[in-house]
Every structure is written in C-alpha cells, then in structure tokens.
C-alpha cells in the first residue's frame, strides 16, 4: 500500500517548490534577454527556441522516466542516431512506406531500450555500465549500417514534412508553427500521463524510492524496469526521427553526447539522480532553460566558450537548490 501512495505525494506536493523555482528562473531569463536585446522576444525567435528544444526535449522526457527509477541511460544519444539510421535504411534503401520506416525506427529505439532493461535487471549490470556499453555498440552499429555515409531523404519529400511542415499553418494562415513542436507537445502530454496516471509511472517511482521494498511488496521489479527502459528507447527513437526529418538526412556521426544535455534538462527541472523524484513539467522547463540560455547568450553575441560555462554553472546551481530545499524539509 505504501508504495502506491508514495509516488502520488512525490509528484504533486514535493516538487511544487522546485517546479515554481525553475519556472521562475525561465521567466526571469526571458525578461532579462528581452530587455538586453530587441531581437529576442519575437515570434520567429520564440519558434526557433521551441524548435531547438524539440530533439533534446523528447530525449529528456525519456530519460526522466528512467531517472525516476533511480537508473540512468547513457545510450539515448546514440540510440537516437541508430533509430534514425535504421529508419533511413528502411525508407531510402528498402523503399518502405514512410510511416512503416518511422515505426521501425521508433521500434528500434524501443528494442535498444528493452535490451538495456534486460541487461540491467536480469544480468544485474549497473545501469551506468550497461548503457555506457550500449552507447558504444550503437555508435559503432550506426556507422557500420550506414557505411559511414549520411542517408539522405531527398527523394522522399514527405519525410521532411514530419518535423518541418506546418499543419497549424495550414489551418491558421500565418501561424507557421512546425509540426516538430506539436509532436513535442503531444509526446510531453503522453509522458506526463505515463508518469502520473499509469501503473508504469507509479511502480517506476516506487522502484526509485525503494527498490527492495517494492520487490518485497510483490511487484515484478525486473519486468517493470525492462518496460521503463523500453519506453525511454521509444522516446529516443522519436527524437531520432525528428532530427532526421529536420536535417532531411540520417547523420550516422551525430547524436553522441546528446545524452548529457538531456540529463542536464531533467536535473535542472528537479529530477533527482537518486530516483523517486521528478516531473515531466520540470523536465520541459529544464529543457527550455537550456535552449533559452543558449539562444539568448548567442543573440547577445557572448562567445561560445562562455555559453558552455554558464550552462554548466546553472546545472550545478539547480541541483544545489534542490539539495537545500530537501534539507529544509
């Protein structure tokens, strides 16, 4: 019983303060940059920011669910690449219909996640090591399968429309918001529902809070872990499709290192690395903080070296705030 009430608390009460703080920080950034540059708060630039958040945002949603269980997945970046390459092979080389290719691409992500889950829960490898290994495996496989060459979707015009077309623009003329943004929004809602409304989310939180207690109360922890890593894989696969669609090509050399940015987004948004705590809203805010920061600093022509330093400082500050808040309790 205790396991079922605990996650509820975690999601609704515990994080209110953190969420508020992160949100306040985001608003503050917006105000500061708007005052500093007249070019920041413009429709086009806001769309650019949101678009720049999509790939990292979707990755961050997936990793949040894994972090909730107290696990980690370092393979999400290369899993993104691998899914994109597989989708590319299916659509361009095998001439499968686009939606089939996308399904296979996303399915590939899920499969990678599933294998991660099995290695972690059944073979008892630490998640850090298992997914680090998977990261390398997928990095190599992406290069092998693509023959180290990018796969271009030039002959499949529809493919670019997935992320860069604008259904909204067709309905409301002038409101040209790329589909990528809609997909990100939809996926965010789904991720939110998974965490708060489904048994996967509840058990995930329970595992993250106290894995042994959860196991003793009769939950099949292994099976749920596999499910959760698979779900995370689905998100990586989706992010891969979004990126491939935007670049109109599956780039086998990109994606490695993207996991750090996704983890940073989740952590800034109040997700605890030790599990049991975290919200989707927080992660989305975290992802936006990162892209608003990069965008704003660039608009102010701050040298790139310093942009990275600032982002790093923000990550440390955000986690420290979190620790302070918990100490008070």
């Amino acid at each position: 019983m205790s396991t079922k009430t605990k996650p509820g608390k975690v999601i609704f009460n515990n994080d209110a303060a953190q969420k508020l703080m992160a949100f306040a920080a985001l608003i503050a950034l917006f105000i500061i940059f708007s005052l500093a540059s007249p070019n920041f708060f413009k429709f086009d630039n806001i769309v650019s920011i949101v678009l720049a958040t999509c790939v990292n945002g979707v990755l961050a949603l997936g990793i949040t669910i894994v972090l909730l269980t107290g696990g980690i997945d370092l393979s999400i970046g290369t899993s993104l690449t691998f899914s994109a390459v597989i989708a590319g092979v299916c659509i361009v080389n095998l001439h499968l219909p686009v939606f089939v290719g996308i399904l296979i691409g996303v399915g590939t992500g899920a499969l990678c996640g599933c294998i991660n889950g099995i290695i972690i829960s059944k073979m008892k490898l630490p998640a850090f090591i298992a997914t680090l290994g998977m990261q390398m495996v997928l990095k190599g496989l992406s290069l092998v399968i693509s023959g180290t060459k990018p796969i271009y979707f030039n002959d499949v015009k529809v493919f670019r429309e997935i992320a860069m077309g604008s259904i909204l623009g067709k309905i409301i003329p002038g409101f040209e918001i790329p589909n990528s943004v809609l997909i990100f929004a939809a996926v965010s809602i789904i991720a939110g529902l998974i965490i708060t409304k489904t048994i996967v989310g509840r058990y995930g939180c329970a595992i993250g809070s106290n894995e042994e207690a959860t196991r003793l109360s009769g939950v099949n922890v292994d099976a749920w872990k596999i499910a959760i890593y698979s779900i995370c894989g689905v998100f990586s696969g989706l992010a891969g499709i979004l990126m491939a669609s935007r670049l109109n090509s599956a780039q086998p050399a990109l994606g490695a290192g993207y996991e750090t940015e996704a983890i940073a987004a989740a952590v800034i948004g109040g997700t605890s690395m030790s599990g049991g705590e975290g919200t989707i809203m927080g992660t989305i805010i975290g992802a936006f903080i990162i892209s608003v920061l990069t965008n704003g600093l660039r608009i102010l022509s701050v040298p790139q070296e310093w942009q990275t330093v600032v982002t790093g400082v923000i990550v440390i500050a955000a986690v420290y705030m979190d620790i302070l808040r918990r100490r008070k309790k």
Binding site: L51, K149, Q251, S301
Partner: protein, 343 residues
C-alpha cells in the same frame, strides 16, 4: 633482447635492399614526379612486383577522422596511390576531431609497427611533436597532410591553403552582396588549424579589402548539423539585416543552409565549404550561392605518393599545395571541378 636485435638488423637490411630495388626500378619517376599519369602508375606497380616478395612498403595513414565524407574521399585518394605504387596502407583516425589523445595513441601504435613512412593529419599542431621526434630518431619519414604541424620534421605537407581559400570565399561574398552590409561566419571549431585558418582567412580579407562590410558574429557549431542550424537561426534573429553567411565546413554550411530555409530568408547569400550531397544539391538549386572545394582525393593521393618517395630516399617538395576551387551552379559540372565534389 638479442633475438630482437637480430630481427631488427635483418629487417633493416631487407629494407635497404628493397630501397635499392625501388630506386633502380623507377627511372621514369624522376622525370615527372609530380603527378604520374595512370599508365605510368601501372608501370611502376608492375616494376615493383618483384619487390613485393621481398617486402612491400607499409605506410600507416593517420587521419583526423573517418566518419565525414571528406575523410572518406581522402581515404579514396590514399588507397588509389597505394594501388598505383603497390604499397600497403592502413587508414585510421579518431571518431571526433577533438580527440587529440586518441590520435596520439594511434601514432604510437603506428610507430611501434616500425613502418616505412607515416602520413599524419595532425589534430593538434603541437601535441604530436614528441612523437615526431621519435619517428625522426627511428629514421621513419613523416609526411603531413590536410594541416601542418609546428615542426620541421615532416618532410612534406600536402594540404589546401585554407587562409587563401577562405579569403577567396570572402571576395565572392563581397561581390555577391554588393560590397557592403552585415555578414556572419559559422565555423566548426576555434582550436583546429582548419577552423582557425578559414575563420581568419575570411575575416581578415573582409577587414582588409571591404571597409563597408561588417562581420557581426562568429559562432562555432562543432560541425554538428543540428547545432549549426539552431545557432545560425539565432544569428539571423539577432541581426535581421544580415546579407550573407559563410559556413566554414560541411556541417556548418548545411546548418546555415537549413537555418536560411527554415526562416524563409532566401535573400541571404550563403557560401559554404567542401562538398557532400546536400551541399551540392543546394548549390545546384541556387539556395547556396557557391562553395569552396578542396581536393580531398588529391590530398590523400599526394600524401601517400610523397611518403613512398620519402621511404625510397627521393627528395620531395616541402609544401605540396593541393589547391582549391570555387564552385557554383554555373561551373560545378566542369571536368576540372566535378571530380572534386564528393557525395
């Protein structure tokens, strides 16, 4: 230890013998050493056949990477030269062009195999110097390619003059935007020789020759297509009156192109660098005004060619300029340019 010494002595004897064989069998080489035509290449590989039974020259080629299409083209050229001169090569490079340490390890491993010569595209112009000294002490000739090092040890360097090439891109940019206005530069990084050379080549030419053109921003996208796209969009937001953007390598150029397309700013003049399918298509359709291309196949070929000559004790030219070309939709199918544009 003794065993090892004997083996070394024997091997070096063999090497010296093969050297004589190599010199003797290639009288034609010296008359036209710069670029052997295919027939001559075939001839030399035939004449080298008896040498193969003794010992085939082994030349490791240490590149900066292998994933980018540019390096694949360099590899093609290196392999062609290996075939023409009947030598054995290995082509390897680290995954990222920032992994100086990995490249050093590869260099050490290559030295340990006691090769006849080494071709090196140094990721860091200073970090490799101790190893270059070791190679020199061991009598292994080193040929640089793509970018040079801060040392006199490499007998020759086959590379594009990046500063000159980027300067030419600046001239083209000035011409296309009418000699005045704001321009920006998107570069892959601020530490490598090519990054610095192309940035400075472009920026300095603008500053020297075109007082009415202002460089408003220089940003670095790591050659990552996605990151370069987002950062270019930001540049355009920050400087809405911008007239032209120069992307200093393939990833950067594609990023600039994506940004301009996504924001529907086809009034912005885009000039790129290198080739690749997307960039070629963009130039053909006119979305990209033009781009600088190097001769990656030539770089790979000439590096291995110089290495073979060095191993055979021939004297070689110190700076092998492999040249560059500016291509746009009007000339990209010409026969002196089309072969340089890899997919």
């Amino acid at each position: 230890m003794k065993m090892r010494k004997t083996v070394t002595v024997l091997l070096s004897l063999l090497l010296v013998l093969s050297l004589f064989a190599g010199c003797g069998s290639k009288p034609a080489e010296s008359t036209q050493s710069a670029s052997p035509d295919p027939s001559q290449g075939a001839e030399s590989s035939q004449s080298a056949e008896p040498q193969e039974t003794a010992k085939k020259l082994y030349i490791p080629v240490l590149s900066k990477g292998f994933q980018h299409q540019f390096w694949q083209a360099v590899k093609m050229g290196a392999e062609k030269a290996a075939k023409d001169y009947n030598v054995e090569i290995t082509f390897e490079g680290p995954e990222y062009e920032t992994q100086v340490d990995k490249q050093i390890e590869m260099f050490e491993a290559a030295l340990a195999k006691n090769p006849d010569a080494i071709c090196l595209a140094a990721l860091d112009s200073k970090a490799c110097i101790p190893l270059l000294e070791r190679a020199q002490a061991a009598g292994i000739p080193v040929i640089g390619f793509d970018s040079g090092v801060d040392s006199d040890i490499p007998l020759a360097t086959a590379s594009t003059d990046n500063i000159l090439a980027a300067g030419y891109a600046a001239d083209k940019m000035a011409e296309l935007i009418g000699g005045e206005g704001e321009v920006a530069v998107v570069v892959h990084d601020q530490t490598s020789g090519t990054g610095i050379g192309r940035r400075d080549g472009f920026v300095n030419r603008i500053k020297e020759k075109y007082p009415n053109i202002k460089i408003v921003d220089i940003q670095y996208g790591g050659g990552d297509h996605l990151k370069s796209t987002d950062l270019t969009k930001t540049i355009i937001q920050a400087y809405p009156n911008i007239k032209g953007i120069f992307g200093a390598n393939e990833g950067s150029a594609i990023g600039v192109l994506n940004a301009v397309t996504e924001l529907n700013r086809d009034d912005i003049v885009v000039i790129g660098y290198d080739a690749g399918k997307q960039q070629k298509d963009a130039v053909r359709s006119g979305q990209m005004a033009g781009a600088i291309t190097q001769d990656p196949i030539g770089i790979g070929y000439k590096a291995v060619e110089a290495a073979v000559k060095a191993a055979n004790g021939e004297t070689i030219e110190k700076n092998i300029d492999t040249g560059f070309k500016y291509y746009d939709k009007t000339n990209m199918d010409q026969e002196d340019i089309a072969p340089l544009l890899y997919d």
